[in-house]
């Protein structure tokens, strides 16, 4: 369902009227196109110390013009504030005020990035206060930004450096149009074991060369629920990034599934993921055709909304069966199979409903919160090995599912985020493709929201 209000307020006269009346003025977001420049205008690297200096050097190596201080009147594509050495709340003032100057100069679709250490990794109260303080400041900036600009943070765990391969991978993702609808989010990054990064990407991730075009070349990915909506888009984006994609959906959706497979040059597998042999059929197919399974995207999901007081067993059970029980069962089979790669990636679709709850969705929220619980527990088991598991929690995404929401409710839901609009399936897909790549090798057990900083469950 097209967001006609967004289209309207991006034409000259209605834009003026909306401004005069104080109505929401959502911007057309800057989305990724292959070959795009990471930053057309200079990028500010605020903050001091070796971490900030090293990061500035890397950005120069990416052919980005770097500024260490704001130049009056010069437009900026992004502002990266590096606070990895913040030891007390007092250390935030200067860099944050510099950032304040930069925010005024951001181009539409600009980016604000905070790079800092995790409060969980210190026992010093002042240091923890400083680190947690960055979190609050960046979230607030995200609320304040307009013109389709976003603010997000990279949280370094342990002794991870600002130029760690994964930290840089995350930075590239956030600076690019791929993160268009990711706003007010923080992604924790650890140093990935070298062996967990397969292929040539390990050496190039640090410089950003070579990984941009086909970061998933040679990988085999399975996407469930791929016949339509977000799943179909995930398949497209993974294929664009070089992956061989096996698209999976229930036999009844086979016609659309075949169309998706033919569009992305993949193979279609008609499997009901709630059946006991679903994982075996997927593994058999992948072994026969491709040998190794590198990426699993658990996207298939259903809603059967009812207030809990009116909920019946079939609604509750079917949602739990599809949205979480199937994932638990399939993961068990995947992890026990030699077909699943030692550097395998599992990305599971959660939902903001699973974080904040939602009226009429107790069953759905239970299943999606369940996904988050599953991801965190499995991530702990993966810790230190080559595999990762993460969750992506979409907010309001324009799909057939959200098109069924009554018109007025839908209009309100769209405006309830900092970006004042719904996201597109491609926004979710880009985030998943990033988490599936070598660039994300040090990201494990995270729940990344793709919600435009939705006010719900923030």
């Amino acid at each position: 369902m097209a967001d006609s209000y967004l289209n309207l307020v991006n034409t000259p006269l209605p834009a003026k009227i909306a401004k005069a009346l104080g109505l929401p003025r959502p911007s057309v977001l800057r989305r990724y196109t292959p070959g795009e420049a990471l930053a057309v205008n200079p990028v500010l690297v605020a903050g001091s110390g070796p971490g900030a200096d090293a990061l500035a050097d890397v950005l120069l190596g990416w052919d980005v013009e770097v500024r260490r201080h704001v130049l009056p009147g010069e437009k900026l594509s992004a502002a990266v504030v590096v606070l990895d050495r913040a030891a007390s709340p007092a250390d935030l003032a200067a860099p944050m005020l510099e950032l304040g100057q930069a925010v005024r100069l951001l181009v539409p679709g600009g980016r604000v990035m905070g790079v800092f250490r995790s409060p969980a990794d210190t026992t010093d109260p002042a240091e923890a206060a400083a680190r947690q303080g960055v979190d609050g400041a960046i979230r607030s900036v995200a609320h304040e930004l307009r013109g389709g600009a976003t603010a997000n943070g990279i949280v370094l765990r342990g002794s991870t450096t600002t130029t760690d391969a994964t930290a840089l991978g995350a930075l590239r993702f956030f600076l690019s149009g791929k993160s268009a609808y990711v706003d007010g989010q923080f992604i924790e990054v650890s140093s990935a074991p070298v062996e967990s990064i397969s292929g040539l990407a390990a050496s190039t991730a640090a410089t950003g060369e070579g990984v941009a075009d086909q970061p998933l070349a040679g990988r085999t990915a399975v996407v469930t629920g791929a016949a339509r909506g977000i799943g179909a888009k995930i398949a497209e984006v993974l294929a664009r990034d070089g992956a061989r994609v096996v698209v999976v959906d229930v036999p009844a959706a086979g016609e659309q599934l075949a169309q998706v497979a033919n569009r992305v040059g993949g193979t279609a597998l008609q499997v009901d993921i709630t059946t006991a042999d679903a994982a075996t059929r997927i593994l058999d197919h992948v072994r026969q055709r491709y040998g190794t399974l590198d990426i699993v995207v658990h996207n298939a999901g259903i809603t059967r909304d009812k207030l809990l007081a009116n909920m019946d067993a079939s609604r509750w059970d079917s949602v739990m069966a599809v949205n979480i029980a199937s994932q638990l069962r399939m993961n068990e089979h995947f992890l026990a199979s030699p077909v699943f790669s030692g550097t395998g990636r599992i990305i599971s679709l959660a939902s903001t409903s699973g974080i904040a709850g939602n009226r009429g969705q107790s069953n759905y929220a239970a299943s999606k919160a369940g996904v988050i619980g599953m991801v965190r527990a499995q991530a702990a088991a993966f810790d230190g090995g080559g595999r990762t598991i993460n969750a992506v929690a979409p907010g309001f995404i324009e799909t057939d599912m959200t098109a069924k929401i009554p018109p007025l409710t839908r209009q309100v839901a769209r405006r309830l985020s900092s970006l004042q609009q719904g996201g597109l399936p491609v926004d979710v897909a880009e985030t998943i493709a990033f988490l599936a790549s070598d660039s994300a090798a040090g990201i494990n057990g995270q729940v990344l929201r793709v919600c435009g900083q939705n006010l719900v469950g923030a």
Partner: protein, 438 residues
């Protein structure tokens, strides 16, 4: 290469042709879900589903062969047009074939032979038919007038040509299943055979019932999940009645054989309905399958086409396969006992039961087939184990592809050897042997 022990001639051993997989769209009853789909639409849908299943996008296949029995004259290049409309490489050649209801199986035979000879590495065989979107021709009288008119140069000649037109010429000719040489419909022909072999109404209804039951069970266990791609909202064969019973079948009124002296036994329940659908099969050499990491479900061993003289009443219209069978079996040193699965196309329940009766009849086998005794009997528990045309429906040229893919999958799961028999209009039949991979 293939072990051809026992072949004594000096010719080089041909390669092995394998069935890699198949795809069909669910079969619809005429006038149903595909009422407005053309043969080309349905064949493209079947091809695209196959492409999606095996990741053949943009691939150049050695050759695609398919056909339709009810075919518009504009579809003279139906299969090639379907290839161009599909996700396959436009560099994939294709040809049309037509052998009535044996069309689909004959395309499998033809392409597998090309593969065996090394002329192609891969092939897609199949067929399609629409009873809904059937061609309607102008009358012979109107056709002649129109042709004369197109050749007329002067106004006078044009008036003269039009002057030959008679009111009756304006009625269009709808297609029929009538045999050109006898004027009898296929059902009426089968009614003669059914009566001659004294096949009871109960036996026919039972075969129909088992067909529905077996097909429903196959769906139930997901057998078709990698053999079928839904089309136009249809996810199962529309003709399937999972809840049918012998009692229900017994209530149906006979539709064929009503003018015979004997009691009419053939009903809409134990005859196939007019159906729309398409089916294709991916074939390849062992080398092709191995090089592309494709599965090999079964080997195509041998096949034979046969025909009988039904015009002069010497044999039933749909009895040709009965005659070919002893030759095919003898050539391969096999008897019915060497087979684990039999796929005998259920044009009518009476067709299958007449064939079984004939092969069991010592006198007939000696007198008509020239054998020393009865050819043998077929274990009914091995017959059409996943249902056949009475339940699935029978879009004429699509039936061969449906049967070959289903049998090959069954063989890959259960092992053993399978026999296919398909009868066809014009007193013809095609039979084939498939074998599980060792």
């Amino acid at each position: 290469m293939a072990d051809q022990a026992g072949a004594s001639n000096a010719a080089p051993s041909p390669r092995t042709a394998v069935v890699i997989g198949g795809n069909r769209i669910p079969f619809a009853r005429a006038g149903g879900a595909y009422a407005y789909s053309s043969n080309k639409d349905m064949l493209i849908a079947a091809l695209d589903g196959l492409v999606a299943r095996f990741g053949l996008q943009g691939e150049r296949i050695g050759e695609v062969a398919a056909g339709a029995v009810l075919k518009h004259s504009r579809d003279f290049n139906l299969t090639r047009e379907a290839v161009l409309g599909s996700a396959l490489s436009a560099a994939t050649p294709a040809y049309d074939l037509q052998q009535a209801c044996a069309t689909g199986l004959e395309t499998v035979v033809g392409l597998s032979n090309k593969i065996r000879l090394g002329q192609i590495e891969s092939g897609i065989a199949g067929g399609v038919d629409s009873a809904s979107d059937a061609p309607i021709a102008v009358s012979e009288g109107l056709r002649r007038v129109l042709l004369d008119l197109s050749r007329a140069r002067t106004t006078q000649q044009k008036i003269k040509a039009l002057g030959k037109l008679r009111p009756k010429d304006l009625a269009p000719n709808a297609p029929t299943t009538g045999e050109p040489r006898t004027g009898l419909s296929m059902g009426e022909h089968q009614a003669l055979t059914t009566a001659a072999w004294k096949i009871s109404r109960e036996a026919q209804d039972e075969l129909a019932y088992l067909s529905h039951r077996n097909l429903a069970a196959a769906y139930e266990r997901g057998f078709f999940s990698d053999l079928m791609t839904p089309y136009r909202g249809l996810t199962r064969d529309a003709n399937l009645r999972a809840d049918t019973s012998l009692e229900k079948l017994a209530t149906l009124k006979p539709v064929f054989g009503k003018s015979l002296d004997t009691t009419a036994t053939m009903t809409a329940g134990n005859s196939t309905p007019l159906t729309d659908g398409a089916a294709v099969v991916l074939l390849g050499s062992e080398e092709y399958a191995t090089a592309n990491n494709l599965p090999m479900l079964a080997n195509i061993v041998d096949a034979e086409a046969s025909a009988v003289d039904f015009v002069h009443g010497e044999e039933g219209l749909l009895m040709a396969a009965v005659h070919g069978m002893p030759r095919l079996l003898a050539r391969n040193g096999l008897t019915f006992d060497d087979f684990d699965f039999f796929e005998i196309h259920e044009a009518f329940a009476g067709t299958v039961l007449s064939a079984l009766a004939a092969w069991e009849d010592e006198d007939y086998c000696k007198r008509v087939l020239g054998l020393d005794g009865a050819l043998g009997s077929i274990d009914r528990s091995k017959l059409n184990v996943n249902g056949s045309s009475l339940a699935a429906g029978h879009p004429f040229a699509a039936t061969g592809g449906r049967i070959v893919a289903s049998l090959a999958k069954t063989l890959s799961e259960k092992g053993g050897r399978g026999l296919i028999s398909i009868c066809a209009a014009g007193g013809q039949g095609v039979i084939a042997i498939l074998e599980a991979r060792k």
